[in-house]
Amino acid sequence: MATVIIPTPLRKFTNNTAKVNVEASNINEVVSSITTEFPELKKHLLDENGRIRTFVNVFVGDDDIRDLKQEETKVNASTIISIVPAIAGGKH
């Protein structure tokens, strides 16, 4: 199963689970699987049109899916998918 790494800011929507294993063949299926398992994730990952939000990046291995085939990017059992939202902390 492919492994999805959930970043700290989103873990409160995954019962503090940091890694989720999913059966999926592409990113669409990955997103569908994790948002079904953790419905609260949905509004944080997807916009009103069901597209991945522009302040959330999804990487397959080391590469941004925007440089691959977006949500159609293929994944397999050994793929590591990282979800990396924008964070802004630093001064306060």
Binding site: T8, V84, K91
Partner: protein, 388 residues
């Protein structure tokens, strides 16, 4: 950057000896550091290690932009400051500490907010910028100013246990320009979707780790040593100790420097990040801490609600009924519709959301948001209470 006229006196040569004897670094790299001018925006969690290491390393001119003053709650991570600096200007306190560490460099302070009005004027005097700010509007501002002026932006950001580092807008030896923040994140999250640091917190040592990496990248960009983190995006998870380095690229639709640039000057970043209330949105009623105090002393009949979390309530509370923001709608029945209701949180942000939610979903028209939240109350009315 020319290092022709850069000379070191005896004390400087002794101080930088351990740099100079590194074969891949040497006197030439040390001269480049001395010739360099680096602007550090934000002298807090990230800015502290960045400033300390750049100062120690001998960066010749360092500019510090910060309008804030040192607060007790800063000291768990802002290692530039100690108890004697509490209440002082961060930029000035930082300067004093840094010149004590290295008197052979110049420190220039800007005790002001970095804004669309002053950003280009300040940054144009420097070779590169290190972004150690704490909010999305300023991050986009720093990025855009750096791109418009053609200067590298050494970026780092933290949240709770996560850190991110990259080098933006860097032109490599082959003349190829790397991506910038807008290539990585075209738009910021809407307000409210991502908790702020004041709500979210940060592990104190994390900015020490991430800020040190940021300082490293500043030094690499200045000296040309190694390969700067351009076109790469580093992430660190302190809990799992996992770090990953992703590949990132420039994007054709980048509004700053993509194929059809639409942004040619600095914009209103508060508005860009959705922090300004659109004029179509109804303003909510507010009350100051002084007015609240007057209501209490006059015996006015009103209900006081606190929408913070339980752990915050335990640190300090002013006797309000606790209904955390995420449970406000479910507990709307506990909120009085027949008399004035004052809603507060830590600083006023979450309580404003609660007021809006209750007005929109349940038609309340008797709600007042406490300006500045419990922190303003403690400052003005009950200084003996805990602050956090």
């Amino acid at each position: 950057m020319s290092t022709e006229n850069i000379l070191f006196n005896k004390e400087e040569l002794a101080r930088y000896d351990r740099h100079i004897i590194i074969p891949e670094f040497g006197l030439e790299a040390q001269k480049k550091l001395k010739a360099a001018k680096v602007l550090v925006v934000g002298s807090g969690g990230l800015g502290s290690p960045v400033l300390l290491y750049l100062t120690a390393a001998g960066v010749g001119t360092i500019g510090i932009v910060d309008f804030d003053v040192v607060d007790d709650s800063n000291l768990h991570r802002q290692v530039l400051f100690g108890v004697t600096e509490v209440g002082k200007s961060k930029a000035e306190a930082a300067k004093e500490r840094l010149l004590n560490l290295n008197p052979h460099i110049d420190i220039i302070t800007y005790n002001t907010q970095f804004t669309s009005q002053n950003a280009l004027d300040i940054l144009k005097e420097y070779d590169l910028v290190a972004d150690g700010t704490d909010n999305f509007p300023t991050r986009y501002l720093v990025n855009d100013a750096a791109v418009l002026l053609g200067k590298p932006n050494i970026y780092a950001s933290i949240f709770r246990f996560d850190g991110q580092v990259s080098v933006f807008n860097y032109t490599n030896a082959a003349g190829e320009l790397g991506p910038n923040y807008r290539d990585l994140y075209p738009t910021p999250p809407p307000p409210g979707l991502v908790p702020s640091c004041a709500e979210g917190g940060v592990l104190g040592v994390l900015p020490g780790i991430i800020g040190s990496l940021q300082a490293l990248e500043v030094i690499k960009v200045i000296t040309g040593a190694g390969e700067p983190l351009s076109g790469k995006f580093y992430t660190f998870d302190a809990l799992s100790f996992e770090n990953r380095t992703f590949n990132i690229k420039r994007r054709a639709d980048n509004p700053l420097n993509g194929e059809n640039p639409t942004i040619k000057a600095l914009i209103d970043y508060e508005q860009f990040c959705g922090l300004k209330t659109p004029s179509t949105e109804k303003a909510i009623k507010e009350i100051s801490v002084q007015e609240l105090y007057d209501w209490q002393t006059k015996g006015e009949d009103f209900q006081l609600i606190d929408v913070r979390e339980v752990h915050e309530y335990e640190i300090v509370n002013i006797g309000a009924e606790l209904i955390p923001l995420s449970t406000v709608a479910a507990n709307a029945g506990k909120i009085d519709q027949g008399k004035k209701v004052v809603i507060h949180c830590k600083m006023g942000g979450r309580s404003a959301k609660a007021v809006r939610e209750l007005e929109e979903k349940f038609g309340f028209d008797n709600l007042y948001n406490l300006k500045g939240g419990i922190l303003a109350w403690v400052d003005a009315i009950q200084p003996e209470l805990n602050k956090y």
